[in-house]
Each structure stands twice: as C-alpha cells, then as structure tokens.
C-alpha cells in the first residue's frame, strides 16, 4: 500500500525488511515518548513495591524503637507516623497491596468482560438482548455501594484478594461493551465464515478467532482497568470499607494522615497521594500509547 503512496517512501519500504504485527506495535509504542517514560516510571514503582521490602530495613509494622512523628531524614526517608511506623516501609507494603488488587482486577475483569461481550456479540438475537439488559442493570447499581457493602460484610479482616475479587466481579461492564461492539462487526467477516465451514465450534470461534482479533481493544482496557481498580480500591479503603489495619493500603495511609496536608506532617498526606496519582497517570499514558500503536487506521508515516 505504501509503495504507491509516495515515491519518497518507496526506497524506505524496499530497504526495510518485513515486520510482524506485534513488532510494528512495539516500534510505534516506543516512538510515543510520554508512554515510554510512563512505562519506565511504572516499572520502577513495581520494583519499589515488590523488591523494595527485601532491601529496606523496616517493614510496615509498628516498632517500639522507631520514634513517632519523625520528619523525613536519612533514617526514615518518608518520615514516621504517630504510632511509630516507618513510612517508607509502609509505602512499599501499601503500594504492593494496591498493585496486587489492581493487577488481579485488571486480569479478572478483562477475562469476564471479554467472554461476556464476545458471547453477546457473536450470538446476537435473544442471547444478546438478555446479556445487554443485564449490563443495563449493572450500570444502574451504584458501584461504590455494592462493592462497599460486600467488602464491609466480610467478618474477618479484609485482605487484598477479597477486594480484588469483589472489584473484578463488578468492574467488567465497560470491557464487555467495548468487546461486543468489536465482535459485532468481526462476526460478519469472511474468516469467521471460513472457520465455521471448516467445522469450528462456537466456543472455538469465540476463543480462537474473535477474542484474539479484539486484542487491541482488550489490551487498552486492561491498562485502563488497572487505573480504575487502583482508584476504587484506595477509595474504599479510605472510606473504611476496604483493606484494614494491621495490613495497609494507599487509601488507608491517606485516611490515617487525616487533615495534615498543610501542617508539619504534610509528608504523611502527600507521599501516598502522589503514589496513587503516579500509578494511575503512568497507566493512562501507557494505555494511550498502546491505543495509538495498535490503531490499524494509523499510517506508518510519522508527521
């Protein structure tokens, strides 16, 4: 296609070797500067959360030898809180728990949503109608109330995987809609007809032909789900309906910081807040970069 587009491209096209689809996506992604910077920052945060606790001397628990309300210093780079907890250690644990929730929610809700949307779009007719009415019902149910009510009803102390399951079970609707819209047009294509005439079962067509072809929509959804899950989990924890003490979460740390935004304990408020913003912001930029990279309508020529 590009051979006839512009003579200037001719030489380029002949000089470069053929590239696979994913290779092209990766190349386009790495040209998106904000997305690449975000990816690096996000990986650093992941390392901070999962590797950091092995390197740092304090954990997230309260220790009697830690002074209370110490300002940031070399011993305690993020300061300490009132009870005598090293905030760097607490931040590592909190970030880890929030990321745990976010990653499980992203994968879980994407699997549910992609299958749901693909089934609805593939069968059309009454199956589609029933499934879409159920989506309408899910849209009407207030998300924070239902997730909060379920998390609040857990008798034992709420752990991160409780939150992850609850958020995934109620957070898949947007992916289902996006995948269904894609599948509605894909199912009319010839390759689906070919798969069917070759004797492929419905399940085979959905999982092997339809869902792989909606991968670009799904991957972008996964990234947006991570940001959504982080914000929901921290909000619920802030409201006291999520992860509970003695475990910790970014929302819980901000709740504990209370009204300290402008007093001498400002670091208790800003550090967890900035961490949430950094995670959600970098994830959104990565999603944006992936969307641009995977948009098939985009030309290979960068202006």
């Amino acid at each position: 296609m590009s051979n006839t587009a512009a003579p200037r491209l001719d030489a380029e096209a002949m000089a470069t070797k053929e590239r696979g689809q994913w290779e092209m996506v990766a190349r386009r992604f790495f040209r998106h500067r904000a997305a690449v910077v975000s990816l690096v920052i996000f990986l650093v945060i992941v390392l901070f959360a999962y590797v950091g606790p092995f390197l740092w001397k304090w954990d997230y628990k309260i220790h009697s030898e830690i002074p209370s309300w110490a300002s940031p210093s070399l011993d305690h780079p993020f300061g300490t809180d009132k009870a005598g907890r090293d905030m760097l250690g607490a931040m590592m644990q909190a970030t880890k728990q929030s990321l745990n929730v976010a990653l499980v929610v992203a994968i879980g809700s994407t699997v549910i949503g992609a299958l749901y949307g693909a089934v609805a779009g593939f069968y059309r007719g009454w199956v589609d109608s029933v499934l879409m009415r159920f989506l309408d019902i899910m849209f009407v149910i207030p998300f924070l109330v239902i997730t909060g009510a379920l998390a609040g009803a857990i008798d034992t102390s709420v752990r991160w995987y409780h939150m992850a399951i609850i958020l995934a079970v109620f957070g898949w609707t947007s992916i289902a809609r996006a995948v269904r819209a894609e599948v509605l047009s894909l199912r009319e294509k010839e390759f689906i007809e070919a798969a069917r005439s070759a004797g492929g079962s419905d399940w085979h067509i959905i999982t092997k032909h339809l869902i792989p072809n909606t991968m670009s929509v799904i991957i972008v959804s996964v990234t947006l789900q991570i940001a959504f899950a982080i914000l929901s989990e921290t909000t619920l924890s802030f409201l006291g309906l999520g992860i509970q003490s003695p475990d910790t979460s970014l929302g819980l740390l901000i709740e504990a910081a209370g009204a300290s935004a402008f007093n001498e304990h400002w670091y208790l408020f800003y550090i967890p807040g900035v961490m949430i913003i950094l995670i959600a912001l970098t994830i959104n930029f990565i999603g944006d970069g992936l969307r641009d990279a995977m948009d098939p309508r985009q030309t290979m020529v960068r202006r």
Binding site: P142, T235, F238, L239, I254, L281
Partner: protein, 341 residues
Amino acid sequence: MVVFIIRRTLMMIPVLLGATILCFALVDLSNDPVQDRVFEIEQSTGEPVPQSTIDALESSWYYDRSVPERYWIWLTGLGDTNGDIGLLQGKWGPSIEGSAMDISYEVSTRFWITLRLVLFATLASIGIAILAGVVSAVKQYSRTDYTLTFVGFLFLAMPVFWLGSLFKEGAVQINKVLGSTVFQTYGSGTTGFRGNGWEVFVDSLPFLIVPTLVLMLGGYAAISRYQRASMLEVMNSDYVRLARAKGVRNGTVMRRHALRTALIPVATFAPLALSGAMGGAMVTERIFGWRGLGVYSLDAINAGDTFAVMAYVLISGVVVLVGVLISDILYGVLDPRIRYE
C-alpha cells in the same frame, strides 16, 4: 415526544426491578443485623440474650422470613406486615437504628442536599469539559493543547478523596489567612438554619463551592477527551470545509456548524458523569461532613441495614436513569436526523 418519554419511563421499571433484586440479594445475604445486634447486647450486658428478644428483633425487621419473601414485602408491603414497609405504598421499611430513625424522612431531607451537590458538579464538569475539549481541538498540537491534555490526565489520575482532603485543608488555610470564612468547609448549610426553599439555597451556597469544585475536577477530564476527539473529527469534515469555503466567518463556523455536531457524542457521557458524581458525592460528603444521602448509605453499609442501603440504591438508580433519558432527549435536540415519535 411525550409518547417516547412515557415508553422510556416504562422501560426503566424492569431495569430498576432487576437492579434492586440483585442488590437486595447480595446485601441481605452478606449481612445479618439480628445476629450483630444480639452480639452487641451480649457484649453490653454480659448475659445470653433471651429467645423472645431475638424473635422480637426478627419480626420487627422482617428477618423471620426468607430473602425472596423479604424482598417481596419490601417492594409491595402486601401480606403480614407491621405497616411500615412496602415501597409501592411509599414506605421504605424499618430502620435497624430503631423506630426513632425514619428512613423516608432521612431520605427525603437528605435527597435534596445530595442532588444539589451532584447536579451542580455534573453541570459544571460537563461545561468545563466542553470548554477544555473545544479549546484543545481548535488549537490542536499547540502548547495549550498539550497543557490541557496533561492537566486532564492529572485529574483523571487523582482520587477524589485525596483531592477533596487537599481542597478542604486548602480552604481552611485560605480562611485563616484572610481571617474570615470565605469557604465553609464543614456541613452542607448553617446549623439550625430555617427558611423557605430559596433562603435555604442561598444559605448553602458558601458550603457548596469547595465540594462542587472537587467533584467537577474529578469528573470533567474523561468527557473533555471525548469532546476534543469529536471536535477534531467534525473540524476535518467536508461540510465544515464547505462552510469555510463559502466565506462564513470562523466564529460562526465553529459555533453553528462544528460545535453543535461535536456535542452529540458528549451527550452519551452525561449520564456517566452523573453516576460518577453520585459515587463521588459519597466521598465528598464524608470529607466535608455533609448530612447527605451518600454518607447515609455509608452508615447503612457499616450497620448492615439492608432497607436503608436499598433506599440509596433505588434513588441513585432513578437519578442515573433519568440522566440517561435526558441525554437521549438531548440527542434529538442536537441531531436533527433523530426523531422521536
């Protein structure tokens, strides 16, 4: 048009029924207020609770029957009741906080407080989203565009509860510096203030500023992205080029030809903004100490009070569905090709 609205209103009923059934089942099955109360009494008196007390609690809260039966009686109030339940008869059911706590009174007074906040915030966020989106699109790839895009992403990534806490403390600091209360940061109106509707509204304005700002900034960014995209698409379309070519002034092209069409996709996101603001209201009401519906639902969740949680679910469901209906009507106003008969 009237037929359309009536038909759409009737179509809301099955959706609301489905949503309440699902919520009722989940909330009810995961909570047992009778057992919680029995445990509380045991803790305070140190003695086992007599069976008669348990029976009395169960019958006054309708916990002596199965979940489907309880749902049915909550919805219709038909059958053997104490005369305090039955949604279709305008009764919200007993509160586990005791007979002094009347759910319908709480709900009706708190509803206006929350609606005021949510409506102001939604309108403000849609307004600023359209403005930011259009400016971004008109000045595409300029410094303004990049700045607005980045600020939008920043607010998209900012949790409402953090922004709310920050703005509340910021407003307190500003008040301190100025030595007066420019911003009211606690409560939704002057305590004990009485007057007619308008006076109450005027009294509540200073309390409204900061929470509305928080919810607005928390909700505008997503819509402004869509506004920018749809505005760009319209500006590159043939009919806008034609309008330019025949010599229409730039401002008129933008206003009459481009913006009107570009608003259509954004109308889809108005109900989303509304439901987002309803969720955000729970957080802002908690932070700013409002006695609104959101805080009420949080308290009900903590107490395991199914009937009170259901009251919130129903009201927020109706508000969201009315938002959807309004956005569908807006489609017809913005897009002359759509006719409702």
